[in-house]
């Protein structure tokens, strides 16, 4: 068997293992969550008898390990349980929201990733010129601004002062793609603003690191053009760190955008999870947690595999 296949198989197995570990952590975490769902549901009318009845009805009187195994088995069947709050299947609650989150993340990534890598290459190609310094100053300020500030500033500029876009990113099922894209324009710009800066700086650093290698000197002494040296000799050897930073940002776009969802009132998964925590809707919290964890594991796995594939020593063993 090719050694790469073995390596990838090992990473996959490790990914499954981490997901299982995460499921334990999430379950334990929701167990120690303060407050009680029954009391939260009943509010003022929480007599001990009513609380006990609800606890029995939700199965909360059973031992934790039993509930954990049930939950795990359910997940393996694709059943994420039933929401405590409105008795709907969690899968139905999560489905639309997840699609919305993934849509926003993909559009933002489609804008941000190519832009960041391009700017990173430009900064290296014109290193230590005004171009590089300008990019550096711009990205540094972008990184320093909190995303809610960027979001509100964009709303102020492009929804209030010049009403070009909607301040509220309202999407609903059945909406046509152009309308959807128009609706998410401002959140996408906000997210791109934050992630491009990070990815661009890391791309620049990764390529510059490679530019110090002796084989770059070889390329220069061949009299090759600078753009060719950066693109052909440096970039392929910097792919592994670039892939890593891109993946971290992709994961952030899926998992970490609650603030942007709130600013633009976007119906994403992050908001759903925050609401679920407030309502002590444990199955929903667990499902969101697992989805976020799976996203991280899956993306990092992809980064690992791609990093392996970009390494010529592993692709072509002796």
């Amino acid at each position: 068997m090719h050694p790469i296949v073995a390596l990838i198989a090992r990473r996959l197995a490790l990914g499954v293992l981490s997901l299982w570990a995460v499921s334990l952590l999430i379950f334990a975490g929701t167990e120690i969550l303060p407050g009680d769902v029954a009391e939260a549901m009943l509010g003022q009318s929480a007599t001990p008898e009513a609380v006990a009845a609800i606890r029995r009805e939700l199965g909360l009187d059973r031992p934790a390990w039993e509930r954990y195994l049930d939950w795990l088995a359910g997940m393996l069947r694709g059943d994420l349980g039933t929401s405590y709050a409105n008795r709907m299947p969690v899968v139905a609650l999560v489905g639309d929201r997840l699609a919305n989150t993934l849509f926003l993340a993909s559009v933002a990534a489609a804008v941000a990733v190519p832009l960041a890598i391009l700017l990173g290459i430009v900064a290296v190609r014109w290193r230590e010129t005004p171009v590089d310094r300008l990019l550096s100053a711009m990205t540094l300020s972008a990184i320093s601004m909190p995303e809610f500030f960027v979001g509100y500033a964009l709303i102020f500029l492009f929804a209030v002062t010049w009403p070009l876009a909607s301040p509220i990113a309202a999407v609903h099922p059945g909406m046509a793609l152009p309308d959807r894209l128009a609706a998410v324009a401002l959140p996408v710009v906000t997210l791109a603003f934050v992630t491009v800066a990070h990815m661009m700086r890391m791309t620049r650093a990764a390529i510059l690191n490679v530019m110090e290698s002796p084989y770059i000197e070889t390329a220069e002494l061949k009299g090759l053009a600078r753009t060719r040296i950066v693109l052909r000799h440096a970039l392929p050897n910097a792919l592994s760190p670039i892939i890593n930073v891109v993946v971290i940002n992709l994961a952030y776009l899926v998992v970490g955008v609650v603030v942007v969802e709130v600013v633009f009132v976007y119906p994403g998964l992050g908001q759903l999870m925050v609401d679920a925590v407030a309502k002590r809707d444990v199955p929903l919290v667990q499902a969101c947690g697992m989805i976020f964890a799976a996203t991280y594991v899956l993306l990092n796995l992809t980064a690992d595999v791609l990093a392996i594939l970009t390494n010529p020593r592993l692709r072509h063993p002796r």
Binding site: E220, L221, G223, L224, P312, R318
Partner: protein, 551 residues
């Protein structure tokens, strides 16, 4: 003959840590005619590479060609626009780097890199360039020239890659090639193969070359003229034979006479050996690196363990010191078996065997002063502290010919040779009976290395210490050994008193090693190649498995 390269009064400056420019090459002039080879020789830091790169109008980051003149065929390169320099680099002047392993891009196939310059400059189309590369692969005797270039750099040996780098430099059919220490990173047997390949490559191709090295014996094999550099200045210049026979400057004279050190062999004493290695077999995991190794070392004598990289020399040192417990066999000290692992050896057993490493840069803790470094074994083994310890540290520094004031310095403030002396002083502090020297001079410049060898000999005469001296350099062996153990792929292939091992008949591998040591005379390379019939020489590079089949 027309003048191809003319460097006049070149000054090169480097940006120091203080933010100022410091001169690193001060007013050097070089002239080179077509079809001639100029040898540039000097120690590290003498400015050889800087000067070689200047021939391409190139200076590394933080270095600038300050003033003077660099003319190629009459055209001034110093101050020429970048685009003009680009047209010259890789087309009219090419470069072969010291470490081909680092100078090849790991992400591309060898042949693609060899033809890149010629195609990018529009000198030939891709098919022509590939044909030319394959012709040169064959000429430099690389295996399977038609398919060799399809491999990636990590898939071939160091010697093969160095030859491929020469091909890369030759494909554009340049007027001038700069070879920057092209064989320094190679084993001795591989080194002469590459040197011979370069020599044939230059001879047929109507080009001039600058050959940079710190090894005079190498450069005299290939260069018509030699320029000696020291501290960024030209010390002496002349025809090769002139430099060899009538060196005028003391520095050049020292270089010429360096390799002539020879210690007469002393008779083996009648007493039993001090250190004995018996039937040792050792492995890292599943990889067996030592097989059935025997060795004996007498008090006050030196055994040289010789072999190429990968032959198991350093592993043997690790077994003797207990860092790597052997799978089988034993190490005896004074007739008594030692514990296999250093963890279980008594403090006194540990004290009696000390190890000095190849790289003094990494063997000394950068955060400790020399006093702490040398004083640590004094406290550990003899419980010497305070002023008594300081006094003893100063004595030890004196023994390795360093001033007492060095006790307060940090390793970063010392040169390579001084660091190695501190490492030796640290080993001596334990008052050992056996000192294992693992390639202790191979990271040092020739002159510094020679001084360290002289120090080791002097210490032995004074204290009666025994050395287990690990090296791949037979010149060093001749200089200091009483006995020689030749290792190949984890086995001892020949051993005995120096006079016996160095005298014929040899084991074929010993013969190969011996005949690969460059001698300080002009015709040596041609003679040795003729004697080997040039056919018997290894083509496959420096992997010991391959070298073992030779000649």
């Amino acid at each position: 003959m027309s003048l191809l390269l003319e460097i006049r009064d070149l000054h090169v400056e480097a940006l120091g840590e203080d933010g100022r420019w410091h001169e690193i090459v001060g007013g050097v002039s070089v002239t080179l005619e077509r079809s001639r080879v100029l040898g540039l020789i000097g120690e590290s830091g003498a400015g050889k590479s800087t000067l070689g790169l200047a021939a391409l109008g190139y200076a590394r980051r933080g270095v600038r060609l300050a003033r003077g003149s660099i003319r190629l065929d009459g055209e001034e390169l110093l101050g020429a626009p970048y685009e003009r320099l680009r047209e010259i680099r890789g087309r009219r002047v090419t470069y072969v780097a010291q470490s081909a392993a680092a100078a090849f891009n790991p992400a591309f196939r060898i042949e693609d890199q060899c033809i890149e310059a010629a195609v990018a400059h529009g000198l030939m189309d891709e098919a022509e360039a590939r044909a030319e590369a394959r012709r040169l692969f064959a000429k430099l005797r690389l295996p399977d020239p038609e398919t060799f270039g399809r491999r990636y750099p990590h898939q071939v040996s160091g010697g093969q890659l160095q030859r491929a780098m020469t091909v890369m430099a030759l494909v554009p059919r340049p007027d001038l090639v700069v070879f920057d220490e092209p064989t320094t990173a190679l084993d001795v047997t591989t080194q002469i193969e590459v040197l011979a390949a370069i020599k044939t490559a230059i001879e047929g191709e109507d080009l001039a070359a600058i050959y940079i090295t710190h090894d005079l014996a190498l450069v005299v094999q290939i260069a018509h003229r030699i320029l000696v550099l020291k501290d960024g200045r030209a010390v002496e210049e002349g025809e090769t034979s002139e430099i060899l026979e009538r060196p005028r400057q003391p520095y050049t004279r020292a270089l010429v006479h360096l390799r002539r050190r020879f210690r007469p062999e002393r008779p083996r004493p009648a007493e039993p050996p001090l250190l004995e290695v018996r039937g040792v077999e050792a492995a890292y995991g599943a990889v067996r690196v030592l097989e059935d190794v025997d060795l004996a070392l007498w008090r006050g004598r030196t055994v040289a363990v010789v072999g190429e990289s990968g032959s198991g020399k350093t592993t043997l040192a690790r077994v003797v010191t207990g860092l790597l417990p052997p799978r089988r066999g034993e190490v005896r000290l004074d007739g008594r078996p030692l514990q296999p692992s250093y963890r279980r050896r008594s403090r006194d057993d540990l004290r009696r065997i000390q190890l000095v490493y190849q790289m003094p840069d990494v063997a000394l803790n950068p955060r400790q002063t020399v006093e702490e470094i040398v004083g640590r074994p004094l406290t550990f083994y003899f419980d010497v502290r305070g002023t008594a310890r300081r006094r003893r540290v100063e004595e030890l520094l004196d023994a390795v010919e360093l001033p007492a004031s060095f006790a307060d310095r940090y390793p970063a403030e010392l040169s390579g040779g001084q660091k190695q002396r501190v490492a030796i002083a640290r080993a001596l502090a334990a008052e050992p009976e056996v000192m294992i020297c693992d390639e202790v001079t191979s990271a040092l410049d020739v002159q510094v290395a020679d001084a360290v060898l002289a120090l080791l000999l002097e210490l032995q005469a004074r204290t009666g210490i025994a050395y287990l001296y690990i090296t791949h350099d037979l010149a060093t062996v001749k200089a200091i050994a009483d006995e020689i153990v030749v290792m190949l792929r984890g086995r001892v292939v020949e051993s005995g008193p120096k006079s016996e091992v160095l005298a014929p008949p040899h084991h074929p591998y010993t013969e190969l090693l011996l005949s690969s040591v460059p001698e300080m005379e002009t015709g040596w390379l041609d003679r040795i190649l003729r004697r080997r019939g040039h056919r018997a020489a290894p083509v496959a590079g420096n992997a010991p498995a391959e070298a073992g089949r030779m000649p």
